[in-house]
């Protein structure tokens, strides 16, 4: 049964007619043509589909679109403001926190939520917070450095 679903996507209101049980990842990627969030495993095991919902990192492959009704969804496409990269994006790029780049949107969004929760995480907190995101090119150590750099640059206060 199709219903009208409203939520905020990257700062703008969205209204969709959709089955409520459709998966957020595919609604984003097909109906809304935001292809930044990636399919990697379909089971919440790799993190490449991670988006942020009301400040929490969410595996969009496990979340239904009905579930984000009335909420605020941020995807990788919404992170840069007015053409300015977010410090996390800048640090991932500068420090080589990516190789093939397929996991990068999920990594960055997961890190974004991590810094919202804890603006100045220690190395152990970063590793723990990122543990469930996989990078097969294995840029892990540079990703940790990128998050530390962005955290320092944000000065512990981060929006």
């Amino acid at each position: 049964m199709s219903k009208t679903i409203r939520f905020t996507l990257n700062g703008s209101p969205v209204t969709l007619d959709s089955e409520a049980d459709r998966t957020l990842l595919w609604v984003l990627r097909t109906d809304l043509e935001l292809t930044g969030a990636k399919y990697g495993c379909g089971a919440g095991l790799c993190g490449s589909c991670t988006v942020v919902v009301d400040g929490e990192a969410v595996r969009s492959c496990l979340r239904s679109v009905g579930d984000v009704e009335g909420r605020e969804v941020t995807t990788i496409e919404g992170l840069a403001r007015n053409g300015e990269l977010h410090p996390l994006q800048e640090a991932f790029r500068e420090l080589g926190g990516l190789q093939c780049g397929y996991c990068a949107p999920g990594m960055i969004m997961n890190a974004y939520a991590l810094l919202l929760r804890d603006p100045s995480p220690g190395r152990d907190e970063i590793i723990q917070g990122m543990e469930k995101n996989l990078c097969r090119c294995s840029a892990y150590t540079r990703i940790v450095e990128a998050i530390e750099t962005a955290s320092a640059q944000l000065g512990g206060g981060h929006e």
Binding site: E77, L85, R93, S138
Partner: protein
């Protein structure tokens, strides 16, 4: 395809819209070209390895049949072109892996891009600079020798106001130049762009979500396909009923020639429809599984290929003070790129275009043409960013499937494998058995090396130690293994066979060092006279701070060392580990990796590859293993198939032995080949226990500790 029509050079330049084109025909590259003469019958001048186009607005385009899958060659190739052309990095746009516009290429694998393709790019750029300088000499009335180039501008050295830009020179031109490998390259000390580490050219798109991978291509009317898959390799479909799927609104069902698929405007509906397809299969009784595969590999092995034979093994045995025999095992592992195989196919006006996540667009062009019934010249393969390959995206079944479905349905089709399909159709790194007999004399000099490889292959089995009596025999090299040796497809996995061979060879070295009571570094130094190997070992000792000691120290913490040669690069590593003797759990604390890779084009890019090799390597060393029963694959997702993750990461230090006199050597694979042995040797130092089978899971390490 015999109907490929070679294009005339003139026609070709016109197509690019004027300006200056420099094409390169690099002789030695043909060594690596396909043996299939059909590959050379191409849609444009057929003897080209690379070309550059300088447009009338001064923009430079570099066309390369290589692809970018994370290894950073988009950046390093552009750097090389910029260097020799004398322009900034930003001036150059690179087009990669498009069969319509790029020169034919065998594929992106084997750490060959920088080594083999790099010289072609540099030659093209160097020649383009000469052509432009000559045009400038004419235009400015200044002799060539009195001119210099900076940032795309040719000027008189004596009077910098007399200048003309590349764009101005290209205007109104329609010039094609062909060069061979003798074109003059810039000397190392003149480098401005090469040898530096600019930000990745693909970085911005990849951090903003703008980077397009095959699955991100959207075409009007495109349908998402899900295909019916067998439960096991070797299974045959005996009955299929698609009626329930067909009844679902918005669903197209295809059932043709063994291809059963459900298609819809969104992938979930397609998946739901596929779930309604009823299918029955005859599944053969499994004859081999995860545990019995090793005996099978030895029993079913074909006659060996002797790749090395020196001296006399019997005489060697007689010369040894101590002799050792050991058997090592390696498991099947998956490539597991986070992007599964994906393709989008569209047919328009008789021409088939396929956007594919592939390491080999040109061989896909041919296989798609053959399988789908098109002339190769009517098939265009475009390679967007590839989300990891590691050897697994050389095969292109998904692209053929998308093309077949596009032909059948008459609409654009996307085929994106699920993770389970990815694990099922992957060409795994082959399981292997390695039997090694070796021994040394009273002076700690190795006199015997008898090395037998089953199932893997020869790469990494070459003996660089000075051993007078040696034999290397390879049974069933991976690309040529007889049918039935492996229960499913196997293929190239980041440095194919080398990971298995070094795991055995470098542990065997340590076994001998420990028995001789000699420090493992000293034992290696004593047994090789290869200058490059000595240099990387010594540099490694310096960077790590190696102090001589005899293993094992058996206090739960250990260090290990291993070295090898891959893609003409020399590599040595040390690992520090902590082993929990109660659980067998291994934590790698620190890795030092030193490489001599000849001239380093992009040091930071090279370090990234070394770090990636080390980190990815920990996966196959400690966790990765594809379990199976016959043709049935038991691991279908990351819940049970254990990739390396954040908490596994050691502190990683990388260093180079400077060797600028040597042209660039491979960088994408060498650092991974020793990961098994370096960790195994450290585990031995920490516990006194030898682990002979990869992956060295906690259970296996614990069992080894308990049996020691």
């Amino acid at each position: 395809m015999s109907d490929m029509r070679p294009m005339d050079r003139r026609e070709f330049v016109k197509l690019l819209g004027g300006g200056i084109v420099v094409v390169v025909n690099l002789g030695p590259l043909t060594l690596f070209n396909s043996r299939d003469p059909l590959d050379f019958q191409r849609g444009y001048p057929e003897d080209i390895n690379a070309y550059l186009h300088i447009a009338e607005d001064g923009k430079v385009t570099l066309f390369s049949g290589k692809i970018e899958m994370g290894q950073g060659v988009m950046t390093s190739l552009t750097q090389m072109a910029a260097e020799d052309l004398g322009v900034s990095l930003e001036t150059i746009h690179i087009v990669m892996g498009d069969t319509d516009t790029c020169p034919w290429d065998m594929g992106t694998f084997g750490s060959l891009t920088t080594r083999m393709f790099g010289p072609a790019v540099r030659a093209a750029a160097a020649r383009a600079r000469l052509v432009l300088t000559d045009l400038a000499a004419e235009r400015l009335g200044v002799a060539r020798a009195a001119l210099a180039v900076e940032d795309g501008v040719v000027y008189a050295k004596a009077d910098r106001s007399r200048r003309v830009s590349y764009g101005e020179l290209a205007r109104g031109q329609e010039i094609t130049h062909t060069v061979d490998e003798e074109a003059v390259l810039r000397a190392v000390e003149e480098f401005k762009v090469m040898g530096a580490s600019p930000e990745r050219l693909d970085g911005y798109e990849k951090v903003t979500g703008a980077a397009k991978f095959a699955g991100d291509i959207r075409l009007p009317g495109m349908l998402y396909a899900r295909l019916l898959r067998p439960p096991a390799h070797g299974a045959t479909l005996t009955r299929v009923d698609t009626s329930a799927a067909e009844a679902l609104p918005g669903v197209t069902v295809v059932n043709q020639g063994g291809l059963v698929a459900a298609l819809a405007a969104d992938p979930e509906t397609a998946a739901q429809a596929l779930g309604l397809v009823e299918a029955e299969y005859d599944v053969p009784t499994p004859s081999v599984d995860t545990e019995s595969i090793f005996d099978h590999l030895v029993a079913a092995a074909p006659a060996p290929n002797t790749t090395e034979a020196e001296g006399d093994l019997e005489a060697g045995r007689a010369q040894c003070a101590q002799k050792f025999e050991a058997t090592y095992y390696n498991s099947y592992v998956a490539h597991a790129p986070i992007e599964p195989h994906t393709a989008v196919a569209e047919i328009k006006e008789g021409k088939l275009t396929v956007w594919s996540s592939t390491q080999a667009p040109f061989s896909q062009q041919r296989s798609i043409a053959r399988e789908v019934g098109f002339d190769a010249e009517d098939v265009r393969v475009i390679t967007p960013y590839v989300g990891g390959g590691f050897g697994g995206k050389v095969s292109g079944q998904q692209a053929v499937e998308a093309a077949q479905l596009a032909k059948i349905t008459g609409t654009p089709v996307q085929v994106a494998w699920t993770r389970a399909e990815e694990f099922f159709y992957d060409s795994f790194r082959p399981a292997a058995v390695l039997k090694v007999a070796s021994g040394f004399d009273a002076d700690g000099k190795i006199k015997l090396w008898d090395f037998q490889v089953y199932g893997a292959g020869s790469r990494g089995s070459d003996v660089f130690y000075d051993i007078p009596n040696r034999s290397v025999r390879v049974y069933g090299e991976w690309g040529r293994a007889p049918q039935g040796l492996h229960p499913f497809a196997v293929g190239a996995w980041r440095a194919p066979a080398a990971n298995s061979n070094r795991f055995a060879a470098e542990q065997q070295m340590d076994i001998m060092a420990a028995a001789a009571g000699i420090d493992p570094l000293e034992f290696r130094l004593r047994n090789t006279t290869d200058e490059r190997m000595l240099a990387v070992l010594n540099k490694m000792a310096e960077v790590y701070g190696w102090e001589a000691a005899t293993a094992p120290r058996s206090d739960g913490r250990g260090r290990g060392l291993a070295c090898g040669i891959d893609a003409e690069t020399y590599v040595a590593l040390v690992a520090d580990v902590t082993v929990d003797s109660a659980t067998g759990r291994v934590q790698v604390d620190r890795i030092v990796c030193v490489q001599d890779m000849g001239l380093v084009v992009n040091p930071d890019g090279a370090r990234m590859q070394m770090e990636g090799c080390i980190a990815m390597g920990l996966g196959y060393v400690l966790g990765e293993e594809v379990r199976f029963e016959g043709g049935k694959i038991l691991d279908s997702n990351f819940g049970t198939y254990k990739l390396a993750r954040f908490s596994w990461m050691p502190e990683i230090e990388t260093a180079f032995v400077s060797n600028d006199a040597l042209p660039p050597k491979g960088g994408g694979e060498p650092a991974i080949i020793n990961m098994g042995a370096v960790v195994a040797n450290a585990i031995f130092d920490a516990t006194g226990a030898r682990v002979y089978r990869l992956p060295m899971t906690a259970d296996r390490v614990l069992a080894a500790i308990r049996s020691t």
